[in-house]
Symmetry: C2
Subunit: 362 residues, 2 copies
């Protein structure tokens, strides 16, 4: 059976959940999916790096609390993450990138992805930065090196949004994409509808672990803007930069706005959208919109997120599901690995075809 050796870059919640999935369900998944997974390297900003080309024993790593993990003391370990060396030089088939992303330039994730693709390794990532800011360049780099660059988790965690557009809507003209893509702001808007004031709603979201200590990225629409860029560029074929996305957050929404909307049967939602204009260019924006009850996104509440595709032949098709979560995002990486396997299996078969021609005619 085909086996893929993985290097996990970043060993926070998401890659730990992926490792747990491999540890606990690897055999069963192999049975179902037709390939096995083995982790040969892990790097982490705090824990350092750990390499074993015969496959790491994941159980003791998963049994240790994240904050306590120190690879330096282990065989094959180092206190230094040594990301570039691990990504470029440790023989792995797939690099699972789940570090963090600077919304200005997408680093350090962009470099991680680039090093891996340059080294001829497939990449799956959950980071929005590399995809939103350098998607086209990285896709081209992957193509040059004959490897895959997969990133389902960059939009709505494991909910299959990008793959629905890429695989299940072929033959349709997608004219626009519209989504509720930030659980924190959606939660806050729900609490405002319940009568909470803005500051209290933000605190509550922080207490529940939805919002960061600095909620700006969620509340002011920066997070959604990156997802809109990904949808515009990957689904509508645009080539937008950050400054091309109009962005307005929810911090300006007043109790009166909420009440006025409710009186008219409307609900405020932070909507990210990308719409093809008549001239072929793409309008991309993030803004609060008061949606009527019959809008496909109006019923999307709390941590559930949704993306609606506007199409010519099929009208609107909407996919909704979790927008975040450790395990949900780890599943995004697994779904990327499945996609890599499917493409790889086909490529292998196709190159056999070429080889046959050479054998017969050569």
């Amino acid at each position: 059976m085909r086996r893929y050796d993985l290097a996990l870059i970043g060993f926070g919640g998401v890659n730990r959940a992926l490792a747990a999935l491999i540890e606990e369900r690897g055999d069963e998944l192999a049975q179902e999916l037709g390939f096995a997974l083995r982790v040969v390297a892990i790097t982490d900003l705090r824990a350092g790096s750990l390499v074993d080309l015969d496959g790491l024993d994941l159980a003791p790593l998963l049994a240790t609390a994240p904050g306590e993990l120190a690879f330096a003391d282990m065989k094959g370990g180092s206190p230094d993450p040594r990301n570039e060396w691990v990504i470029r030089d440790v023989p792995a088939d797939i690099v699972a990138e789940a570090t963090f992303t600077n919304p200005a330039d997408g680093e350090p994730a962009v470099s991680h992805v680039r090093w891996a693709l340059e080294a001829g390794k497939h990449v799956c990532t959950t980071n929005k930065g590399p995809v939103a800011l350098h998607g086209r360049k990285l896709r081209n780099l992957a193509a040059e090196h004959g490897v895959s660059f997969e990133f389902e988790g960059s939009v709505l965690s494991g909910t299959p949004v990008l793959r629905t557009a890429q695989r299940l809507l072929s033959g349709l003209r997608i004219t626009g994409v519209e989504g509720i893509m930030n659980g924190t702001s959606n939660f806050i808007l729900g609490r405002l509808e319940d009568g909470a004031d803005f500051e209290a709603a933000v605190s509550e979201a922080q207490d529940l672990g939805y919002a960061e200590a600095d909620p700006t990225a969620d509340v002011e629409g920066h997070d959604v803007a990156l997802k809109v860029m990904i949808l515009a560029n990957e689904v509508l074929g645009a080539d937008l930069r950050s400054e091309d996305v109009f962005r307005e957050g929810i911090s300006g929404i007043t109790a009166e706005d909420i009440k006025d909307a409710a009186d008219k049967g409307l609900r405020w939602k932070l909507v990210g959208s990308a719409t093809r204009r008549a001239d072929g260019s793409v309008d991309a924006r993030v803004a609060p919109i008061a949606l009527s009850a019959d809008h496909p996104l109006s019923g999307i509440a709390g941590p559930v997120n949704a993306v609606a595709f506007r199409t010519d032949l099929l009208g609107t098709v909407t996919v909704s599901g979790p927008g975040a979560g450790r395990i949900e995002t780890a599943y995004a990486l697994l779904s990327d690995i499945i996609a890599i396997h499917q493409r790889h299996a086909n490529d292998a078969a196709a190159s056999c075809g070429h080889a046959l021609e050479e054998t017969v005619h050569g």
Copy 2:
């Protein structure tokens, strides 16, 4: 470029819309999809049959009103549909079956599908009957003959429900499926909420063309029951027969029921569901349920339909979109043809691989 020759069985709204799509957008689709489509045969209960192995000229057929079409007067035409002969003996790659289905035994569609598969032809169908009542048998028959049996349009027209489950949720355990899968009953429930009485709501649905002259199949849940069987059997791997599906329609819902629900913030919906029980068996049912506002299906209104998949790692993922419509259902057939092409292309590559081995080692 690979070209597929199609036989269209039934030339009502759906296959006419497919023919129009091929006529109007064939070149563009070929460019995008990598294969061309040509119609070599059409049969229709009223119009008869028409065969041209060099490809039928679709424009004049589409320019004629459905009721006026008579193939008998045309070259290669006959007043008799000659379904069995066309399906078995006319050389076509794919049979697009869009006739009608008897909910008791699935005929005549079941025979159409069987003849095609026995003749080694791929089949795409929009008919629930063959899939719900004989899905397993027909799938096995397709496998025996090395051809595909595709039926995305049997549930929610072209909205990619079955293919989401089959292709985009791999590696997850799907524990249940739940949907609003009948636009007519959903429309009627909406009108009841607006204060209409049941008989008036049914008449209105009939006037708008949503409901048949005999609305029983929609209103009493027979239509949804077939879709539940398809989801239970195809997604949860069950092997249910009609009598295994509990069925209750919406005709018993009173104005008082509606009011009581509204007072509690609930909305009645006709819900079809299939749920895996602890012992591995599958509970399948159709019944009106008063859903709370935070249920993923509660916001699904009017002609929009939706199916929610309950999964272990990803929670609930919901796909919503049109549940019916000529063009929407024709797109389901196109999406099936795309699936057939993808599988065929892979098979061809794989068999090259085998051939290579034989060449090298033989």
